[in-house]
Symmetry: C2
Subunit: 348 residues, 2 copies
């Protein structure tokens, strides 16, 4: 199963609205086939694993076992055929599943169909690990909201810019390259109008000398938007604008999910937008980049200037998961919200 | 040599005013003896390595090679006898040294004595690695100043306390345990009077249910000092007080080194003291602890409120070296100043 989860993580770009899935087929505890889902329109991981075993000259699977990081699908309203009939057709006698599909059209139905056909099904194996790689998919399915990532680049003393608003550059090239990779993973970039006015950023993903357009969500009015780099880089048709700052950002997220099919929103700042998303507990994960040593000053551009929390206990909790040094900078990845494929109470 | 440097780092408590030293004795490229210096009054690493080889039943060293992370000593004004005569007596024909001793009484003299006696000497092997483990010793010897460590505990958005001054607790027990280990390594703790008034800390090192007194350097006047926990925990005789905040902190450091034999000063805050040491470029290394997620607020207690730097380029540079996650907190160790045993220009 660990191998299946590893395989699931292979795609470099987002596979949303689909989940990341990996599958491993074994015969007498030896791997005979493996596969993963490459994204919408591509075969599912289970199919890939079976085809791989066939390429490895295995012809019948009557004594094999299929490990799959997500419940196999049974619904028909999509481009690729469901996996259950294939599993039954190949007479695979045992299927081990990390967790149920949070998609209501599947959730438990796939397992039920397998069991009814006499397949031995085990679920809940490495469930947490598998759920953690599919946070965006699980949130999408369960809450009908985009998954929200926040990127912040600040000095080691927490300043997002100096007191005049200059943030060029807090971090070095390695950190900035990672940001382009993260933009590529998300399907929309959120930004405040003040940052557009001040920095005039492009906000597309630039990787390996190629540029990739992104959907851009702008909060606040921008004059002569058509002349801005963000418009030239991504196309006016890709820009969604909320001309006033919105008080209820959850309603905004709901709208972005429903009307614009945005499954994963990547917030780039500035401080005001980041602070509001954090305050409303709408950020799911953060990429924090610390650089430039200690800057000091009044912290005009720092987080939560208007929060006025009464005690330490009210702070917005953040769970660091990974830390790496990038030349003079530090990258910390961590989570604020974690989503599970089913209510925690159901878990053994 | 890598093994010698590893051995040198074994002592858990500071060996200052002595350097950390490790030594490895080899015969036909196989280690036959190894040792390290445990601190003032204990045998030197070279002696330990030779005695270790003898315990391993080696009786003559006429074909062996000695790797030592610091130039062997030749001066007589100390508790332990110099190592050069022992090396010559044991007829060790080859000595490989990471770097020269920055102590003026040795620097190059040890090497010269060995060479004069016909010993083949190589120097400069893994020089940087060896110098980095002895930063305090090198600074002491070359600049006659204590090595300065700064500990800061702040929220992920850089607040050292909330706007009312409450900092209890930004970090969790693992981080706080590390701080006690760091206090044990230093020979004095520096603190501002405001922090004593506000937090009334003990500032001793508490490890394994034992308490160790430290020298305490207080900046600013404290009323009824005798009633404070810091006095009870460390003894009035261990408290050095500068009743006014000093403008020239380098002069203070010089005085602490000369008059109080303080070789390694560990600054615990508050924000004002930390900011002044940083601004005057007197901090050599930092232990940054980030915890409690995002706190927001005006940042009344954050670094460098009065700095007013004109540009990003003027920030106090910080080079992160290590990052580790401690439950909900993050520990970053990094350097601001690096000291070399000789002027860089001499290096090949």
């Amino acid at each position: 199963m660990r191998r299946a989860i590893e395989l699931a993580c292979r795609p470099k770009n987002s596979v949303l609205p689909n989940p990341l899935v990996g599958a491993v087929l074994t015969y007498r505890n030896t791997i005979i086939g493996q596969g993963f889902h490459r994204g919408p329109g591509h075969p599912h991981a289970e199919v890939e694993a079976i085809r791989d075993a066939e390429r490895n000259s295995f012809r019948s699977f009557g004594q094999s076992c299929l490990y799959v990081s997500l419940e196999p699908c049974c619904h028909l309203d999509k481009r690729t055929p469901p996996c259950i009939p294939l599993i039954l057709e190949e007479k695979i006698p045992q299927v081990i599943i990390a967790h149920r599909d949070p998609n209501k059209k599947v959730s438990g139905q796939g397992i039920l169909q397998l069991k009814k056909a006499g397949v031995k099904v085990t679920e809940g194996y490495l469930e947490e690990e598998a759920a953690l790689i599919n946070q965006a998919y699980i949130k999408n399915q369960k809450h009908k909201l985009p998954y929200v990532s926040l990127k912040l680049a600040m000095t080691f003393d927490g300043k997002l810019a100096n007191d005049k608003g200059d943030a060029h550059w807090i971090t070095g090239p390695l950190a900035r390259h990672q940001v382009h990779e993260q933009r590529a993973q998300a399907d929309a970039i959120a930004i405040g109008s003040a940052t557009i006015k001040m920095d005039d950023p492009q906000l597309n993903a630039r990787l390996n000398k190629k540029s990739f357009k992104k959907k851009i969500v702008i909060f606040g009015a921008v004059k002569s938007l058509e002349k801005r780099k963000v418009t030239k880089a991504n196309g006016l048709e890709n820009i969604i604008i909320f001309s006033k700052m919105q008080k209820d950002l959850k309603a905004v997220l709901r709208k972005l999910y429903r009307e614009h099919s945005i499954q994963h929103l990547y917030i780039e700042g500035g401080p005001n937008l980041a602070s509001q998303f954090l305050e409303q507990k709408l950020v799911d994960e953060c990429h924090l980049y610390y650089g430039r040593g200690f800057l000091g000053g009044k912290g005009v551009y720092s987080l939560g200037r208007s929060w006025g929390l009464k005690s330490m206990a009210e702070s917005v909790k953040f769970q660091p998961q990974d830390a790496e040094i990038l030349e003079n900078d530090l990258h910390i990845y961590g989570r604020i919200n974690v989503y599970w494929p089913h209510s925690k109470s159901r878990k053994a």
